[in-house]
């Protein structure tokens, strides 16, 4: 059995004291340990942002790519090696601004990966500009008079796009978050885990004090049914005194993209097949097209 220690990194995180990313890091480690996924069995693909540095701070395979592009990179990883678990970790600017298109398309394709978004509703690393999930009126260096963009609802967007697993976690509730990530890891298909992540520097209004009294768990709502597509969509709009966390929607019956790719329907993952020249009969067959 693995424990969190197996995922202990060499480097100390460079995040600010109190940053929600510490909780997310711990939850990721807990989930991997619980689900017995060893550091070499998974690749964490990240973008650029404060939170995207995560794999540097634990023992795991990581690929810290470009701002906005980890979902596309991860798609390529999965298609070339569907034997490797893949988790994308990136910020809300990364995922919902620069990377929005990859997110929507990965969701509708049902690529089998976990897409964890550290949603601090702000650009952390570039010093506090408003993000697609920032509330209206937010004053930041790029919106000094208050933002006039209506915020995106990423969960509703994911559900609409066809995501088969859509959840929200809270960085202040480690156990619940670790459970969510675990469920997402076990889900066969695209799994969004949008995490309410306090940024204690640039978005003080959405710190632990804001979230703690407001979050409630969908799992504890006796009448909530995460297989009801429409109800799930509707629930994502709840935001106020009560903020739902947990699994909004889940449909494990939809085939993943990878399962359906003609070249992958049989045999080992692509990268485990020998890379060899063509056999003479193959050459012959190919050349006959041109004679």
């Amino acid at each position: 059995m693995l424990t969190r220690k197996d995922f202990a990194g060499r480097e100390r995180p460079t995040w600010c004291k109190g940053c929600g990313n510490y909780g997310i890091l711990t939850a990721v480690q807990m989930a991997l340990a619980e689900h017995n996924i060893a550091p070499h069995e998974i690749l964490i693909v990240t973008g650029i942002g404060c939170g995207s540095k995560l794999p540097h701070y634990m023992r795991v395979n990581g690929f810290h790519t470009l701002h906005g592009r980890p979902v596309a990179v991860a798609t390529g990883v999965r298609l070339a090696n569907h034997g490797l678990r893949v988790m994308v970790v990136h910020g809300d600017g990364d995922g919902y601004a620069e990377g929005l298109s990859h997110f929507v398309h990965a969701a509708r394709r049902n690529i089998n990966l976990v897409d964890l978004v550290q949603d601090n509703r702000i650009y952390g690393l570039t010093r506090g500009q408003y993000s697609p999930t920032s509330e209206r009126g937010k004053r930041t260096p790029s919106s000094p008079e208050g933002s006039i963009d209506y915020p995106l609802n990423p969960l509703a967007l994911a559900i609409t796009a066809g995501a088969t697993f859509v959840a929200r976690g809270y960085a202040g509730d480690l156990k619940h978050l670790a459970w969510l990530i675990g469920e997402a890891l076990e889900h066969p298909g695209y799994a969004l885990v949008d995490v309410l992540q306090p940024c204690v520097i640039w978005n003080r209004g959405y710190a632990y004090e804001f979230y703690r009294p407001r979050v409630y768990k969908l799992e504890e709502e006796s009448d909530y049914d995460p297989t009801d597509h429409k109800a799930a969509w509707e629930r994502t709009f709840e935001w106020g005194n009560r903020i739902p966390i947990g699994i909004f929607y889940r449909d494990p019956t939809v085939p993943t993209y990878e399962e359906q790719v003609p070249a992958l329907r049989e045999g080992p993952p692509l990268v485990h097949r020998p890379v060899e020249g063509l056999r003479p009969d193959q050459v012959e067959a190919l050349l006959s097209e041109y004679r």
């Binding site: 810290h64 990179v73 398309h105 992958l264 020249g277 063509l278 041109y290």
Partner: protein, 584 residues
Amino acid sequence: MSANDLTIRIGGEAGMGLESSGAGFSKALTRGGLYVFGLPDYYSRIRGGHNFFSVRVAPHPLYSHAEPVHVLLALDLETIRRHIGAVVPGGAVIYDAKEDLPDDLHRADVNFCPIPLTALAEEKGGRAVMRNTLAFAVAAGLIGFDPTYLESVVRDNFARKGQAVVDANLRVVEAGVDTGCAFQADFPYHMEAIPDAPRRLILNGNEAFALGALAGGCRFVAAYPMTPGTPVLHWFAAHAEQYGVVTKHAEDEIGAINMAIGAAYVGARALVPTSGGGFSLMVEALGLAGITETPVVIYNAQRPGPATGMPTRTEQGDLLFVIHASQGEFPRFVLAPGTVEESFRAGWRAFNLADRYQTPVIVLSDHYLAVAYRTVEPDALSFDEVTIDRGALLTPEDLDGLEGDYRRFRVTDSGISPRATPGHPKAVWTTTANEHDELGAINEEPENRIAQVDKRMRKLDGMAREVEGPIRYGPEEAELTLLCWGSTYGPAREAVDRLNAERLGWANLLHFHDLWPFPVEATRAALERTKRTIVVEGNATGQLESLLRTHLGYTADGSIRRYDGRAFTPEQIEQRIKRIEQTE
């Protein structure tokens, strides 16, 4: 009289199937032991407008299209209007008898053959669209080409559609050949099949590149359609299931290149075919491949820019762009094949270079090379020569023996660090697009930066040894040397032949097919043996010229540039050279 170099051109509207029938006819000629150069010319629209397809045929190898037309197959009057000027004296114009030929389209020195193309196609084949098959069959009859080769192609091409379709097409061919034969006596240009010739191939640059890439182990292709790179995606998609290739039509080019980088990172040989506009969108990710030392191959089939430009035309305008693309500095290869044979070779060689140097490789083709069909020798695609060298790629067995931390970016003399792929318990690490240390951790310290930049840049030493200098065609020493790159090789080579036919041994050429790292030493040596040089290239600013100045301080004696969206012809190069001669 039997000619030794004919062009048969068919013209009509988009959507009439000119290209597929032209390609079929080209294949028939090839089966008949002849050499073909087949070039489609079309607008960026799906139906209507004016398209044409030129089939140049000869009993000897051809390297480009040519200007004179011997048989014009006019599916509409517009074709005559546009091309009558190109028809040689004594040439023929085949047109539909139902059309009234206006006087101003007439030429006394040309044979106008009104043939009931539509009516006959409908009568024999049942469908008017068979007109072009009919027209080509007329042409075959006219030049005295043995129709059995046409029939064999018809049988192969339509077999999927059932015997009835095959039979209908065969009837159309027969009727066409008969009609053509009737005119044969009056027609001075004949081209007979050469029986028992070796079974040559006919294909275009896109197909040859795809074949080479597949042979070289390419098993992942992500792309967003963009003319003229799209057919490479289609080719792989069509062969995907059979050859175990994963292809992905992505949401955009940024998605495509990043998917390819992901696939390459975990060990696949990954390719992204595109054109210049798509390449522009991949520029940031090119740098990701550069700093993370991920091998990936980008195939850019150029078309005239800027921006959307002329989607279905040709140009060699992206050379300096791809050499310098992306912020910061890192090594890359730029290969620019000039022929079908070189396209094939670039296909597999690109992957070896990418793996050996763990860096991106750009293959620069262009519309002309990508789409023009050429007959090549049976063994022109040297599958035997294909090697698969994955460079310093660690196997699971290698990693089993690993002691201590895996250092993905170990500073080595060659600049190449042994590469693992994720999945082995002994090699657990993080790679980053930030500057990093040997282990892959983010590192901003000056010493580390210098060590890593130098390490990456040291690869250039090895890379400089890989790049091949220009290839000479023509006599070793000549009064005039043409310098060209990429697809201009074909017309330039024929221009050299034409010049030498007049003045024996007067001209030769140096053809560059590896452009970056620029093959400095080999070029210097080659230039030392030249007297007067003229750079011939398909752009407006002289990009090869610029490289020669930058890397060798070399200024050529003249330049011939073309940037009207069309490829050079041998005749044009010859004339421009003569004009330069005269003004000097």
